[in-house]
């Protein structure tokens, strides 16, 4: 119950307990937590595997990645992403994808460094609460070894609407 630090960060969504439980029930292996020597929670990653194998869309998805402010700039996010990618490799995924706010430049830059590229823009994916306009998301992807030709990450020319993504 000492998750307050990282989850009080406004850029990370704090999800409801049902949301976490749903992931733990379905994809327990995709939930990884990092602890510091002093016992502090440094960060966590949560994801899932989904998509059709036949259409070569079976992939790992990053649902949440959060690193507590005092443990940033240590490469922890990269490490957690690496772990998630490895799990997705083992499951025979074609790629790993994630959604990120267009405005979250720090994150976009970091994902690019980790080998992710923008596959498409999803219009008004994040709904705003206090009268501000809804925000677009980038759908970023990185091909795994199963997609040797990197077909899955060829960028789409046009943005899509949230209702058009499965």
């Amino acid at each position: 119950f000492v998750s307050s630090h990282s989850n009080l960060d406004p850029l990370t969504e704090t999800y409801g307990i049902p949301f976490y439980l749903q992931y733990l029930a379905h994809w327990p292996e995709y939930f990884i937590v990092a602890e510091a020597p002093g016992g502090e929670l440094m960060g966590y990653i949560m994801g899932k595997a989904e998509g059709s194998v036949a259409r070569e869309e079976w992939h790992g998805h990053v649902t949440a990645l959060s690193v507590a402010p005092e443990f940033r700039r240590l490469g922890l996010a990269a490490k957690l992403m690496e772990m998630l990618e490895e799990i997705s490799e083992r499951k025979g995924g074609f790629f790993v994808d994630l959604f990120v706010r267009v405005s979250n430049q720090v994150a976009v830059k970091m994902y690019k460094q980790l080998g992710y590229s923008v596959y498409r823009t999803v219009i008004e994916y994040y709904s705003a609460s206090n009268g501000e306009p809804d925000e677009d998301a980038y759908d970023m992807r990185k091909a795994l070894s199963r997609d040797a030709e990197k077909k899955s990450i060829i960028p789409l020319p046009h943005p899509v609407r949230p209702e058009d993504i499965e």
Binding site: F1, V2, S3, S4, H5, N7, L8, D9, P10, L11, T14, Y15, G16, I17, P18, L21, Q22, L24, A25, H26, P28, E29, I32, E35, A36, P37, G38, E40, M42, P69, E70, F71, R72, R73, L74, G75, K79, M83, E86, I87, R90, K91, S103
Partner: protein
């Protein structure tokens, strides 16, 4: 309920519109449509159920239930009705009815895989493990799919976990589960990873670690692939249980070579190393030992030292980012060697030097302080200054400016410098400064803070400023000063500084939390509401930090905010109870067996949360204080919250303290940090208070039941709903309250000598309540009904002694109330010598006074209801006898005297509140000069903002308290007899 499969069915087509209306929240139309359909097709049961859902959702629970039962007794077997009923029962919080439904369905259609599986899930929702086991087997017999078989096995494991009798688990449930799995293993029918996981869980719980190890390392273990290092982690756990330290050591070595940054394996490596040294372990002489499975074993200090040196050398040679693990591990090894007084510790180097080097490498990372903090005790006290000077030399700062403060040129230098100040604070150097030194330090920290803001000009408002932590630290030094000297200005300036910080960094949770705590302690709840909502606390955070709100809102007289904060928390807890069951079911579906006991433990942890019980109790009390006997009779309020005096709904023995007491960062040295004993005291503190409140609540329930006992007071009528309080329960609750009060008094006396650290837990309301006199006074008033019951039986004629006793009680109650009121008098903001000192305890006392008045009025109301008939029968008698002498029995005159003194007390209180409101409004805090305090104009503005917030909050509290008291005063008339 959107997607339905079979489109062909005409009934589906007919029902469609109703589903749509329900999905869109248009319940009225759904009901109408269902009625229309039912006219044409009387037997379309599902329409009835859908109508019931509509009714349920529009608040007509009883109608909905009756209608649903009409269908349920028919034992429907059509999919639509079953699913709709399931949804309805869930919304009604009656999951047990779903089991009945599907029990009937499988009886009628015994071969349906679907219904059997629904039945299993229905049992899972209510935790009927035995029936789940049977349902799982029944399913497997119809359709021999592995998951069904293992559902049954898991249900056995759950029976073992939930069994009260550990022996039963170990000798019956678990062995049975084991045999069931073994059967599948022998028949080579194991298919999935989840099945191996479950097998492992069973063996582990049985303590069969050797067998478990065989499974993990054998062919079955090959299925354990989903989790990273799943097999290694499991082996490691088993080695520890089996105390196979050689294997444990070899495996941690191997994993550390792979990932030299994984701290848990360093710990295991060291643990196992020292066990091996203590056992003088030697490699086995012959043959391939299990050890070779993993590789080298280290069993001497020399090996460990060289292993550490290798790790560091490898790290040094790396081009890429350095990892912290090897360096920290080296310090950890030194600590352990020193603990064992091994002279070899020196071979690894001098901690001061190693920590300095660590700082050189990682000083610009924000985590440097948390890393080094745990090793600071390796330094001797006389090394502290040397260490700080040493690390300070490694901070590139510019030339000192006019004010003598040297500033960093970029964010990396800033972070390094910040880390040094954090280290210095952790070493207690800041605390050792005298007042002047501390003020100088604050000045310096502020200079660094404001200077550092330039680096964060382009920061988004969701990002923190690079120099925020300087501001926070300065605030903590202010608090240190305030606590030491009692100088109120330190606190005002601290608030001002934090408000300033927040204005530059609106997302800084630490600023908000500290402000929140300070305002609470100052008795100003109004600003807290906004701060808390800007923290955007969600879900579990209501449990971990929400306690601050429920602790303070009510006690400071902000009743509306208090109700709201209780509601936040209660909504969270209630939804948890409902939601978790659904995910337990999902875990069965996906075979995440390991998670099922975890989910259940989590649900229990929340259900048994101390804060949950507090919020529940306080919410009910609050509702009564605010509403009962003003807008609706006490009896109705008590009934509507289904408060039953005989029943205690708090799990006292298993209360869980889920508060996050470490959420505030303060870099305090170890001796000032929160200790385990503080947590325990605080838990005891809160529990005692909760006990008092819960007993008070139940006693109010008793009083209500007595007052509204059906007119047939003397007849033998049985009471409805068991709400009526028997005198015996009144008696027993009273003596429990008395006992708890004694315990509380003793506890408080003891506790006052050991206050909590400032950033630790907040004291409960107990101490203030006791000193206000409210507990004793409430107890006295609640004792009255007992005596009046006696009087009722005895009558007026034969009870002189009893009457005197009651009269004395009335008198003493009036005196106690007057005493309480005296303790409320005084200025909330005491202005002296241009300093304003908040006296928030006056506000708390006032609230206790009002709460006590509420209780006294309810009790008086009961007294009136007993005395009234006695008086009128007396008058009748008099009329008959036409006696001239009108000697009023003492109890009647005492009662009348008491009610008039209540009247005057309330008037006094109202006047006091009025006059406080007037003087507070007139008070212009802004005009108070803060001169002599070297504050700049900008700083003064922030400080004044903070003062205004406190002032406005006090006013609001007074208004709310005044309003409630007025409402209560209006009920005085009804006390007449």
């Amino acid at each position: 309920m959107a997607a339905r499969g079979h489109v062909q069915d005409p009934n589906d087509r007919r029902l469609r519109p109703i589903y749509d209306y329900l999905d869109n929240g248009n319940n009225k139309m759904a009901i109408q449509q269902a009625d229309k359909l039912l006219k044409k097709h009387k037997d379309l049961h599902c329409a009835k159920v859908l109508k019931a859902i509509g009714l349920q959702r529009t608040g007509k629970q009883d109608e909905a239930f009756t209608l649903a039962q009409e269908v349920a007794v028919l034992e429907p077997t059509d999919d639509n009705s079953l699913q709709a009923l399931t949804i309805l029962y869930r919304e009604m919080h009656r999951p047990e009815l779903v089991t009945k439904l599907y029990e009937a369905a499988v009886r009628k259609v015994p071969t349906s895989e679907e219904y059997h599986s629904h039945l299993f899930m229905a049992y899972a929702r209510v935790g009927e493990y035995k029936k789940m086991q049977q349902a799982g087997m029944a399913l497997y017999k119809i359709v021999p799919k592995n998951p069904y078989y293992f559902w049954s096995v898991m249900s056995l494991v759950m029976q073992a976990i939930s069994a009260q009798d550990e022996k039963l688990s170990q000798t019956m449930f678990l062995p049975l589960a084991e045999r069931m799995v073994e059967k599948m293993v022998k028949e080579e029918k194991i298919e999935a990873e989840a099945e191996v996981q479950l097998y492992f869980m069973i063996l582990e719980r049985l303590g069969k670690y050797v067998e478990a190890l065989e499974v993990v390392q054998g062919p079955l273990g090959e299925k354990l692939t989903s989790e990273l290092q799943s097999r290694e982690n499991k082996c490691m756990m088993l080695y520890r249980r089996l105390e196979r330290w050689a294997e444990c050591n070899a495996l941690s070595c191997k994993l550390l070579l792979k990932n030299p940054d994984d701290w848990q394996f360093y710990i295991l490596y060291f643990d196992s190393l020292f066990y091996l040294i203590d056992q003088s372990w030697a490699p086995p002489q012959e043959g391939v030992h299990c050890v070779e499975y993993w590789g080298e074993v280290h069993a001497s200090t020399a090996q460990a030292i060289s292993f550490m040196e290798d790790r560091i050398a490898t790290e040094e040679a790396k081009e890429s980012k350095h990892l912290r693990g090897p360096y920290l591990a080296c310090l950890e090894l030194i600590r352990r060697l020193r603990e064992r007084s091994c002279p070899e510790a020196q071979q690894l180097g001098e901690p001061l030097e190693l920590m300095f080097q660590f700082f050189v490498k990682f000083g610009d990372k924000p985590c440097c302080i948390t890393d080094l903090e745990i090793f600071l005790d390796l330094l001797t006290p006389d090394q502290h200054v040397q260490f700080i000077n040493r690390v300070m030399e490694a901070v590139p700062l510019g030339a000192p400016g006019e004010d003598g403060v040297a500033l960093p040129g970029d964010t990396r230098a800033l972070q390094r410098h910040l880390c040094v100040t954090q280290l210095s604070r952790s070493l207690g150097q800041q605390h050792a400064l005298n007042t002047e030194g501390k003020l100088g330090l604050i000045k310096e920290l502020k200079a660094h803070y404001r200077h550092g803001l330039q680096f964060g000009k382009s920061c988004l408002k969701t990002e923190l400023q690079f120099s925020d932590m300087y501001c926070l630290m300065a605030a903590h030094v202010y608090i240190d000063l305030w606590l030491e000297t009692g100088d109120q200005n330190m606190l005002w300036q601290c608030l001002g500084l934090l408000e300033e910080g927040l204005s530059h960094s609106s997302s800084n949770a630490q600023f908000k939390l500290l402000l929140l705590l300070l305002y609470c302690r100052l008795g100003a709840f109004e600003p807290v509401v906004d701060l808390y909502s800007s923290l955007d606390a969600k879900h579990v955070q209501h449990d971990t930090i929400g306690y601050l709100l429920t602790r303070y809102a009510e006690s400071l007289g902000q009743f509306a905010a208090a109700s709201q904060s209780c509601n936040f928390s209660l909504r969270f807890f209630h939804s948890n109870q409902k939601d978790t069951s659904e995910y337990i079911i999902q875990a069965y579906k996906y075979g995440a067996f390991e998670k099922i006991p975890e989910f259940i433990a989590f649900r229990n942890r929340l259900n048994h949360s101390l804060h949950f019980a507090q919020a529940r109790t306080e919410r009910m009390l609050l509702d009564l204080f605010l509403e009962a006997d003003t807008s609706s009779p006490l009896e109705e309020s008590v009934k509507s919250m289904s408060l039953c005096p005989e029943e205690d709904d708090i799990p006292w023995d298993s209360l869980r303290d889920n508060r996050d007491l470490t959420v505030l960062v303060s870099w305090n040295p170890k001796d000032r940090q929160l200790k385990e004993e503080h947590k325990q005291h605080s838990l005891e503190d809160d529990t005692l208070w909760l006990r008092l409140r819960s007993l008070t609540l139940r006693l109010i329930g008793c009083v209500s039941a007595l007052t509204h006992l059906p007119a047939s007071r003397n007849s033998e009528k049985t009471t409805e709903n068991g709400v009526a309080a028997k005198p015996s329960s009144l008696q027993s609750l009273l003596s429990q309250l008395e006992n708890t009060l004694n315990q509380a008094t003793q506890f408080t006396e003891k506790q006052l000598q050991h206050p909590y650290p400032f950033v630790g837990p907040v004291p409960s309301r107990l101490a203030q309540a006791l000193s206000s006199g409210c507990c004793q006074c409430q107890l006295s008033s609640l004792q009255l009904p007992l005596h009046l019951q006696e009087l009722e039986t005895a009558g007026l004629d034969e009870s002189t002694e009893l009457q005197t006793q009651i009269s004395n009680l009335f008198k003493s109650l009036a005196v106690q109330l007057q005493d309480m009121l005296e303790k409320c008098k005084g200025d909330l903001l005491d202005v002296k010598d241009d300093q304003s000192k908040p006296q928030q305890f006056l506000l708390e006392n006032l609230v206790y006074f009002v709460e006590t008045v509420c209780i006294v009025l309810w009790v008086s109301n009961y007294c009136g209801s007993v005395l009234r008939p006695l008086k009128s029968s007396l008058q009748k008698k008099k009329k008959k006898k036409k006696e001239a002498s009108t000697v009023t029995p003492p109890v009647l005159s005492a009662y009348q005297e008491f009610s008039s003194s209540l009247q005057s007390l309330l008037n006094q209180a109202l006047e006091h509140i009025k006059s406080q409101e007037i003087s507070l409004t007139a008070l212009k805090l802004g005009a108070l000069s803060l001169e002599g305090q070297t504050q700049s104009e900008a700083e003064e503005t922030f400080t004044k903002t903070a003062m205004d917030k406190v002032q406005s909050s006090y006013l609001r509290s007074l208004q709310e308290i005044g309003e409630l008291l007025k409402k209560r005063a209006d009920t005085l008339k009804s006390l007449k007899i």
